[in-house]
Symmetry: C2
Subunit: 229 residues, 2 copies
C-alpha cells in the first residue's frame, strides 16, 4: 500500500511491535505469526497484518513473519537505525528524573544537553552534562542538529520555552508540562501527563461496588519475591 495517509495510531503501535519482536528474538524465535504477536500485545491479528501492510509485505503465507527481518524493517521505518540527540529543558526534580532514566540510551536516544533558567543550577553538572542557560539553546540545537526536545519546566514557563525551542529549529517536543502547547504546523508535540491519566481512571472507579476487602490467606505471597532455594 505504502500510502502517505497512514493513521497516526498505526505509527503509535509500531514501537510496540518492535518491542515484542526484540523479545521474541532474544528468546531465539525465528518466525512469529500475527496471531502470536497479537496475543502478546492484546491486538487482533488482522489489525497487525493491516498495519504492516501499509509499509510493504513482510510475511510469508503459511509461515508468518521472520522475526529478525521484520524487526529490522520496523526499525528502519521508524528511523530507529540511528542515534537521536535530544535536549532537555527544565532540570527540576522531574527533569533530573528523566535525565537519569536509563531507558532512553539503549534505544538510541541520547540527551546531549540540559538547560535551566535558575542561575543556581547553571554550571552545575548532572552526570556528563553541564547545565546551561536557555540562551544557549539556539546555538546548541543548531550545532548538534537536535530535532527533539524534552520539556520538563513548570507549566507556567512551558509555552515560552516551547517557542524558543521551535525558533531554534526543534521539530518535536515531548511535553511533560500539563499545558496544551501552541505550536506551528509541522512541529509535533506529545504529552506525557500521568495526572490526567489518573483523573480519567477515577471515572471508572468512582462508584465501584464496595467489595468485602478482607484479607484472604491465599493471597499472601509465598515463593514470590523470595529467591528460590
Amino acid at each position: 500500500m505504502r500510502a502517505e495517509n497512514i493513521p497516526e495510531v498505526v505509527i503509535l503501535r509500531l514501537p510496540h511491535y518492535a518491542r515484542v519482536l526484540s523479545m521474541a528474538l532474544s528468546e531465539g524465535r525465528e518466525l512469529v505469526s500475527s496471531q502470536e504477536l497479537g496475543e502478546r500485545l492484546h491486538i487482533t491479528p488482522a489489525q497487525i497484518r493491516k498495519d504492516l501492510s501499509y509499509f510493504g509485505r513482510f510475511g510469508r503465507q503459511g509461515r508468518g513473519y521472520n522475526v529478525r527481518r521484520l524487526l529490522q524493517m520496523l526499525r528502519q521505518i521508524l528511523g530507529l537505525d540511528r542515534e537521536w540527540p535530544l535536549i532537555l529543558v527544565g532540570v527540576g526534580r522531574l527533569g533530573r528524573a528523566v535525565l537519569s532514566y536509563p531507558g532512553f540510551a539503549p534505544e538510541g536516544f541520547r540527551v546531549v544537553a540540559a538547560f535551566d533558567s535558575d542561575p543556581d543550577k547553571i554550571g552545575r553538572r548532572i552526570g556528563p552534562l553541564v547545565i546551561q542557560p536557555p540562551s544557549q539553546i539556539p546555538e546548541t540545537v543548531a550545532r548538534l542538529g537536535v530535532l527533539i526536545a524534552i520539556l520538563t519546566v513548570p507549566a507556567a514557563a512551558a509555552q515560552e520555552v516551547a517557542d524558543l525551542l521551535i525558533a531554534s529549529g526543534v521539530k518535536a517536543i515531548l511535553n511533560y508540562a500539563p499545558v496544551t502547547l501552541k505550536v506551528p504546523e509541522g512541529v509535533l508535540v506529545r504529552d506525557i501527563d500521568p495526572v490526567s491519566v489518573l483523573q480519567s481512571l477515577t471515572y471508572y472507579l468512582k462508584d465501584l461496588p464496595i467489595e468485602p476487602r478482607t484479607l484472604q490467606p491465599s493471597l499472601t505471597p509465598g515463593a514470590l519475591f523470595r529467591p528460590e532455594p
Copy 2:
C-alpha cells in the same frame, strides 16, 4: 443523553477540560464558550459540546458555560471530589522520581505506601513513607482501601507484581514498565511509556529535509529568562 456507552476518548478529554476551567477560574472568568475552551485545547467547539452532552446540559444558550459550575460538575463526574490513596511498587530511580513528583497531591492523589523487593531498601524511608516488602501489599491494599497502583518495577518483574496487586484488590494500574500487562476483565491498565512515544515521533522526523541550521541573530533570546527590571 447520560448514556452508559460513553467513548473512552471522551473520558480522556474531561481532565483537560477541568484543567483549563481551573485556569479560567483563577483568571476570574465567570463564563466560557465551547469556542474558547476549544481554542485553549485545540479541540473543535462541537466536540466539546458533544462530549459534555453525554453527561447533561451544563451550558446556557447564548451565554456559554458557567466556569465554576462546569468545573464542579466535571470533578464530580470524574470522581475528583475526594482523595484517592495510591500505592507505588518499585522504588528504583523511576519510582523515587514518581514519589517525589509534586503534581499528584494537589489533585487529590496521595501515595500512601511504597514497596520494593530489594532487602537493602526495605525499611528505608522516602519522605513520610517506609519502604515495605511486596508481601505487605495485600494487607495494605485491603486496610487502606486502595484501588489504584503505580507500577515502576523493571519490565521483567512487572507481570508478577501486577498479578499480586490484582489479587490484592487493586482495580487500576498506572504502568510505567514497557510491557503489555495481562489483566482480568474489570481491571484497568494505563501505560506511560515515553520511549515508545519517542520511537513513534522519529517516524515523522526521519527524513525531514535538512534545513540550513545556521544561527540567526534574531533567535538569540533577549528579555527571555532575564528578570524584568
